[in-house]
Symmetry: C2
Subunit: 217 residues, 2 copies
DNA sequence: ATTTAAATTTAGACAAAACTAAAAATAATT
DNA sequence: AATTATTTTTAGTTTTGTCTAAATTTAAAT
């Protein structure tokens, strides 16, 4: 159907598109894809010919409806495989990304519908991100960044923004995990760092940390 | 490490090499890879540069020790994924090949060792073929083609030579499955067809069938 | 032992997806 | 508004793996 590269571009455009209503710029896409702007222009033209994106020179690129559907299918596969790796194959949440990045391109409807069934239709991946269903629909959680909470507020940790191995290992080390309750005990004016209570533990975390943790109040 | 295409060539050479002690011919490889002889020559040169095969112009190609090890790793992955698809995702033995063909190229040592563990270290794939261990070792079963048995002999069905969907569906339809006991009741001189007793059933099968079923006496 | 046939290799070309360097368009500054 | 800076696109190459057509080598047949 689509090449590996085309699929990866669609996914990247989808992820960049969430951040704003404007079109995705060539440079942003080049950065995300770890490639050069000229390569992006070439590929975007190809995707445009295939009606997967809407593209006008110098105006950035938008996913078309079919492009969005295709991107969501890939994201669905990626996140289902992540669940599989963690739940069945003893991977930790910081190890799954690269392997899922490969597995997401396997082409078989049956494989994914059966995997979904085998995993008992999970709604979220190991990082708390929602898994689109076969139609591409998914819950948009009303989540808040921990950094946006005020002293005294509390909620449940439902996701992470940064999914880098370094960040996830930091969380593991400090026993900060999905599903736990977090309460903001104090905030330092100077650097924005927070003193948080997470179950029995109390610790101070920097803004780099609080700006990458999603809370459901 | 190696490209998709390189891996597929190594696998193809491995499979063709079993049939004889001579080198694999360019044309045979072209046929197996569904490509042209000139493309094969190009790729074989590349594999030779990488010391994965031993190649002398016009003399056919042989796997080197490292080529053989690489091929066995891919075959191990292919067969483990086949077991996974059948045992965990409700695939039938005639549906697994194409998907496993894609899954076998996923690069992760941990993925495969954990999958192996998850499946409880299977020794054979759904078609009865042996699964190499992490070192590339596997049992070479002392199996016989059903067509080589004589009237009165019996044994257990341990594998199939032809793994095409058509043949496997034929076997399903006639309740011929791995692990069942088969006894040769009679053989027709004229066309070589056999009357076989397989558990409670008795049926007549052609040489196309008997030459593709492996029996362990 | 020639000639013919078949198999194999070489040479040159192409598509996909990337690159570099230069040109063009847009945005930002003075 | 004109100039400068930034972003984006174009033009021309490169690499991988394929192809066709022609040349070469090996095998088969007379």
């Amino acid at each position: 159907m689509f090449s590996l590269s085309e699929e990866n571009y669609l996914k990247a455009i989808f992820h960049l598109q969430k951040h704003s209503t404007a079109g995705v710029s060539t440079n942003a896409l080049a950065e995300e894809m770890q490639t050069k702007a000229s390569s992006v222009t070439d590929m975007v033209k190809k995707l445009s010919d295939k009606k997967l994106v809407v593209y006008k020179k110098y105006q950035g690129v938008y996913l078309s409806e079919s492009g969005r559907k295709t991107a969501l299918k890939i994201i669905r596969k990626h996140r289902l495989w992540e669940v599989f790796l963690v739940e069945k194959l003893n991977f930790s949440w910081d190890e799954v990304h690269d392997v899922a990045e490969e597995l997401e391109h396997i082409k078989s409807e049956k494989l994914i519908s059966e995997l979904d069934k085998f995993l008992d239709y999970p709604k979220r991946d190991p990082h708390g991100d929602p898994i689109p269903d076969a139609q591409g629909d998914f819950q948009v959680a009303n989540k808040t960044l921990l950094s946006d909470l005020s002293t005294g507020e509390k909620g449940t940790l439902v996701g992470v923004k940064d999914t880098s191995s370094e960040f996830l290992k930091y969380l593991d080390k400090n026993k900060i995990a999905l599903g736990k309750t977090i309460e903001v005990m104090d905030q330092e004016k100077f650097d924005g760092s927070m003193l948080i209570q997470i179950e029995k533990n109390r610790l101070r975390v920097s803004t780099q940390v609080t700006a990458n943790i999603y809370i459901k109040i």
